[in-house]
Each structure stands twice: as C-alpha cells, then as structure tokens.
Amino acid sequence: MMLALSSHLNTYLLIGAFLFAAGFYGLVQRRSLIGMLIAGELVLSGASVNLMAFNRFLAPDPTVGQIFTLFIMGIAAAEAAIALSIIIAVYRNYKTIDAPDLHDLQG
C-alpha cells in the first residue's frame, strides 16, 4: 500500500541515500564556492535523516538519535558561518568565488 510508506525504515533510508547522492553530485559539478556549500548542507541533511530513521525504528533509547541530530545542526550552523565568512574574505581579495579561478597555489 502506497499510503503506509511513512512507517517503513527503508523509505527513510532511500531518502537519505538520495539526499547524499544529490549533495555529492552538487559538490562535484558546482564551480562556485557557495554552490558547493549548499551541496554540503544536503549531504549533512541526508546523514541526519538516516540517523533519525534508525533512531525511530531500531534504537532502544529514542532520545539519543534526536540529541545527536540536534548536535549535527549546531555543528552545521557553525560550519556555514565560518565557510561564508571565508568565502566573503576570498571574494574581497580575488573578486570571484569560482573555485577554478582560485589557483594562486598551483605550481
């Protein structure tokens, strides 16, 4: 039955795998640093969905996965703040945020 999908573990695992693969594709294919940051957030989100699904269906203590996901959110917020300030500093110095144009250290 299509409408009982929300009570199966595999549904959430497939969604998590899709988010991870989409984020991976974005990381490979984007040229701009902000696009890469967006794809990285998608990867983190896929990992969180996986953890929450295991927490709901398999874990003996259903609070642990929720708390772990909350900590992932805190780390992701800190990571986004740092990455964006680095991107803005790079833009001030190079006038571009395209990754292929930032080749000062290339030999």
């Binding site: 929300s6 794809a39 957030e41 969905v49 269906f57 986004a80």
Partner: protein, 176 residues
C-alpha cells in the same frame, strides 16, 4: 481508493508523499539551478520537507529546530552571502565541463545505488524494548543529564565560530 484517501491514514500518507516530493525536488533545484538564489530557495524547500519527515519520525522538537536553524538561519545567511559576494555581471553559476558533469552524475548515481542496495538488503536488528517514549520531556532530561557536557561544549563551539567569523570578515575589510 477515494474512500480510503479520506481516512486519517490516507490523509497522513498524502502529506508524507508531499513531504518526500518537497525534499527530493528541493534537492534537485538546489544542485541544478543556474542562479545561486534559486539554489538557496530549493535548499529551503528541501529542508522544509526534511522537517516534515522528522515529524513523521515522532520527533516534533527536532522538526521545529530544523525549521528554525536551517530554514530560518542557515538559508538566510547564505542569501546574505550571495548578495555580498556574487559578482553582478556573472551571477549565473557556470556548470563544469560537460565531461565532468557527466562523470559526476554517473559516480553519484552509483553511490546512490550502492547505498540503497546495502540499506534495503541488510537485516537491521530491532531493539527488543524501548526504554522511554522519546518525547520532548525525555529529550530535555537526556540533554541536561547524560549529555550536559556535550551541551556545554557545543555552546563553546558556536561562540568560537561566531568570533572567528567576525574576525575573518573584519580582517578582510581592513586590508583594503
């Protein structure tokens, strides 16, 4: 079929399908759109769908935090960065070379198929009994008793991140 859609289970199943569609389409918009602002909007749509999935996973508090932190804070911050750092003339995001994009699509498709095959064929062991219900009260108690050290540490991490972001942005400005 129409009759079964009007029951509680049928309506919640429809809402679940809508959340899955929002997650998947938002992710596709976020990685494929030409303009970065549209990519951020797709990211916000995807996070909204993920928050709905968390609600279906018996975690309303995490769903609320997903909306507050990701949609409310992270996406808005990325929009500000796009406005500050996107060159006006070339605001369109150039794609990589055709070969690179094709190769990336093949590899990420293989990653998806591999993870999906492993996760659907594995026999996951289910816990015999749950020690609590996982409600908001239980989450709060666990956050402030066994996990209190981590709870304090992540506040330090966030403080350092904020100060570091300010320092980075400020030093870049002084140089000009």
């Amino acid at each position: 079929m129409v009759h079964s859609l009007l029951t509680v289970e049928g309506l919640s199943g429809l809402v679940f399908l809508a959340m899955v569609a929002a997650t998947a389409s938002g992710a596709l918009i976020a990685i494929n759109s030409k303009r970065l602002v549209r990519a951020v909007a797709g990211l916000a749509l995807s996070f909204t769908g993920v928050a709905g999935l968390y609600y279906f996973l018996n975690s309303p508090f995490v769903a609320l935090m997903e909306m507050l932190i990701y949609v409310g804070a992270v996406c808005v911050t990325i929009v500000f960065a796009v406005m500050l750092a996107e060159p006006r003339s070339e605001s369109k995001v150039g794609k990589g070379s055709g070969m690179g994009a094709l190769f990336g699509a093949i590899v990420s498709g293989l990653v998806f198929l591999g993870v999906a095959a492993v996760s659907t064929t594995t026999k996951w062991p289910v816990a015999a009994a749950k020690v609590n219900s996982g409600s908001i009260t239980e989450v709060g108690l666990a956050l402030l008793t066994p996990f209190s050290m981590v709870f304090e540490l992540i506040s330090v991490v966030l403080l350092v991140a904020i100060i570091g972001a300010l320092a980075l942005a400020h030093s870049g400005r002084e140089k000009e």
